[in-house]
């Protein structure tokens, strides 16, 4: 039985997909009478099934070696595409996490989407996401990872665009699709570029190939690595492809839970799996570290300056995935995986806590909220624990992930430790700022009467809270936490101090009355720069969008006037020729006689042309001599 469960664990993505398909009949156009709720329940059952199956399988596979499953897909001349799956402890653990978080997000959505009729569409897309993420977790082949990533990009477009009657949703979905698509297309270039080099797309074969230190042109491998980085760069909302995550916050909150925790991590997953390839190119690794560092610092600064609570959190997610980029760029898979895990749990919890506030207080503007601590304790505690799990506070998982990353970097790249400490401090500041603005202070008009949300939203919040709290214990029990003796105590101290400093400074600023609210920085342009996320929309509009727009207009004009014009010109010339040449029919008989004569003489000239040379001269000289003889 247990072995059977393990052998069939590759069915887990199919459960979710089936759930997604089964939710569709409750779209309002198909089942018109009973309302959309069964769509959600069906999906919940399927997700629970997936969760239980993968959890049981995880228990079995924990001490076993990884298994490979190969499902043939397409075999043509010279190319054999098989869906290769890896069933290892880590991939099954990822299945557990994805299906578990999706289960929580779906229970949450049952409460949150109470007043919405679009359950069929919403839950089928959540099912599609779960299926895609599970397939990605199992997938042991770069090509099929790419396939799944593209399907997820389409899913993001549809899920962000759920409430498509809102104009900002439509633009947000558009940007989310195009930005991620650009990254994915670069990834495709990388995927296609690495096949002739390595001859395989299988991750373990790629790892073996990279370990054999093949002699490839460093320039070529750098370009391939850039392509492979660009995909996750768009997926993980890294600079400069980060705007979509900000605009994707227009989508419904339950999907945001999933997005902030796992969808953005899908890029990081591919990145981690490709880490051996990146180690071939030091330039690519340093570029990755650079992107990660810039994003981590920039996004955590932006998060401080936001007033939309969902956007504060989305920039924190960008910042944390920047840390994952740093970890992968410095060849630390373990730290990257720990970071992804801790970020997924904590970010999910944070979004759940905040979503509950938004559900009952309507506004997402943190400056209009306040004083909710006494009335919304569960959400408040959940938020605090989520924040503590995200930043470096000792017992929780985020601390261990950052500590491992920091202590590995301590001797080699101390500057990156500085980045880590700064990002940690800034994130602590921004998370504490949101907490103080929402739960601290005095109630404002929008939060005057704000009851705690119903059990459907509180239950997953509390379960996630439990997961965040238990994560370090679980990790310790399965010996995944780095052992204390190997770690650098200086980094630990710095992390703790930066968390405490960031949090407490923020608390002092926002809870005390010394400083007038809303806070104005002495440098107003700087505040605006951060609040408008470095004017990224304008940057896009001025660079890529402008360029593509001008080029398309130019191409359109070229097509419309030059290409079309040339063909039309042929017709026009024919018409003009006919119109002009008809005047040769003058109606004068004498003119016709002249043309006949000219035609005949021309023909005669042509026919006799060959005699016009010497013989004509002979004829002339002959007649001349004849005349002279007379």
């Amino acid at each position: 039985m247990t072995q059977y469960l393990l052998d069939t664990v590759w069915l887990v993505p199919l459960y979710a997909l089936l759930g997604g398909i089964m939710a569709l009949p409750w779209s309002p156009g198909i089942i018109r009478r009973t309302g959309p709720r069964p769509a959600g329940y069906v999906n919940l059952v399927m997700t629970l099934l997936a969760f239980l199956h993968s959890s049981l399988a995880l228990g079995i596979i924990w001490d076993e070696p990884a298994k490979k499953v190969v499902i043939p897909w397409l075999s043509t001349a010279g190319l054999n595409l098989a869906i290769e799956l890896e069933i290892s402890a880590i991939s099954v653990a990822a299945l557990v996490m994805v299906s578990g978080l999706n289960f929580l997000a779906q229970i949450y959505a049952v409460g949150y989407m109470e007043m919405d009729w679009g359950w069929g569409r919403f839950f089928s897309l959540l099912g599609l996401f779960e299926a895609g993420l599970c397939a990605l977790a199992l997938c042991d082949n770069l090509f099929f990872s790419y396939v799944v990533l593209e399907i997820l990009t389409l899913g993001t477009y549809l899920l962000v665009g759920l409430w498509f009657s809102q104009p900002l949703v439509v633009t947000g979905a558009r940007d989310a699709f195009l930005t991620k698509r650009v990254g994915d297309l670069f990834l495709l270039m990388g995927v296609l570029g690495i096949y002739p080099l390595a001859g395989t797309w299988n991750y373990s074969d790629l790892e073996a190939w990279a370990a054999s230190s093949p002699s490839v042109n460093p320039f070529i491998i750098s370009l391939v690595c850039f392509g492979l980085i660009a995909g996750p760069m768009g997926k993980c909302a890294q600079f400069p492809l980060h705007l979509w995550l900000d605009e994707a916050m227009e989508g419904p909150i339950p999907s945001t839970i999933l997005r902030n925790s796992v969808v953005v991590a899908s890029g990081a997953w591919v990145l981690i799996k490709l880490q051996p390839v990146f180690s071939l190119s030091p330039i690519a690794s340093s570029v990755m570290v650079g992107i990660g560092a810039v994003t981590a610092v920039g996004a955590s600064l932006i998060a401080i300056a936001q007033i939309d609570v969902k956007r504060c959190l989305s920039y924190s997610v960008s910042a944390y995935l920047g840390l994952v980029f740093i970890a992968v760029g410095t060849q630390q898979d373990e730290a990257a995986l720990l970071l992804v895990l801790s970020n997924a749990l904590s970010a999910g919890l944070l979004v759940m806590a905040v979503g509950g506030i938004v559900w009952n207080s309507i506004t997402q503007n943190v400056t209009q909220l306040g004083g909710l601590w006494t009335r919304r304790p569960i959400s408040g505690i959940s938020y605090l624990v989520g924040a503590a799990g995200l930043i470096g506070l000792p017992p929780l998982a985020g601390f261990w992930a950052m500590l491992e990353l920091g202590s590995n970097l301590w001797s080699t790249q101390p500057a990156l430790v500085g980045v880590l400490i700064v990002v940690n401090g800034l994130t602590a500041f921004s998370l504490m700022r949101e907490f103080c603005l929402i739960w601290g202070g005095k109630p404002k008009q929008m939060s005057e009467r704000s009851p705690e949300v119903s059990w459907q939203m509180t239950l997953p919040m509390v379960i996630a809270l439990g997961f965040v709290l238990h994560a370090p214990i679980i990790l310790n029990n399965v010996h995944l936490l780095p052992s204390w003796v190997n770690l650098n105590q200086d980094v630990a101290l710095l992390l703790i101090w930066s968390s405490i400093f960031g949090g407490s400074i923020s608390a002092v600023i926002y809870l005390s009355d010394f400083i007038h609210k809303p806070i104005r920085l002495p440098l107003q342009p700087l505040q605006n720069l951060l609040a408008y996320d470095f004017y990224t929309p304008k940057l896009y509009k001025m660079s890529i969008v402008l360029g593509v727009d001008l080029l398309s207009r130019f191409a359109d004009m070229l097509d419309r006037f030059v290409v079309d014009g040339i063909v039309n010109l042929v017709g026009l010339i024919s018409i003009g020729g006919g119109e002009g040449l008809k005047y040769s029919n003058t109606g004068q008989t004498q003119f016709y006689a002249l043309t006949v004569l000219m035609g005949v003489s021309l023909l005669g000239a042509i026919v006799t042309w060959q005699f016009w040379g010497d013989s004509f001269l002979d004829l002339m000289s002959g007649s001349v001599s004849m005349i002279s003889m007379k």
Binding site: K582, Y583, N585, G587, Q588, T589, Q590, A593, L594, L597
Partner: protein
């Protein structure tokens, strides 16, 4: 006296006829120019008959036919000119450009 001179004379007469045919505004003068052309042809026929075929003189027979047909043609031509004149009160060739484009 050589054949070429007759031929050259006939060619000159032909050219004069062509010139008159194309440039005359009077329809009767056009008919007259046609007569010049036919006479140039007759000269050719007579010259060839004399110098190249002096026994069978087929050219002279041709000439007789040409003169006969030219007379008939001139008669029909003048009838046409008269018919046009009755309709349009003019024999100016430049007025007869109704059948244009």
């Amino acid at each position: 006296m050589q054949l070429e001179y007759f031929l050259l004379l006939a060619a000159a007469l032909f050219c004069i006829g062509i010139y008159g045919l194309i440039t005359s505004r009077n329809a009767v003068r056009v008919l007259m120019s046609i007569e010049l052309l036919l006479n140039a042809v007759n000269l050719n026929l007579m010259a060839f008959s004399n110098y190249l075929d002096s026994t069978a003189i087929k050219g002279q027979i041709f000439t007789v036919f040409v003169i006969t047909v030219a007379a008939a043609e001139a008669a029909v031509g003048l009838a046409i000119v008269l018919a046009i004149y009755r309709n349009r009160d003019t024999v100016d060739m430049e007025q007869f450009n109704l059948l244009k484009w």
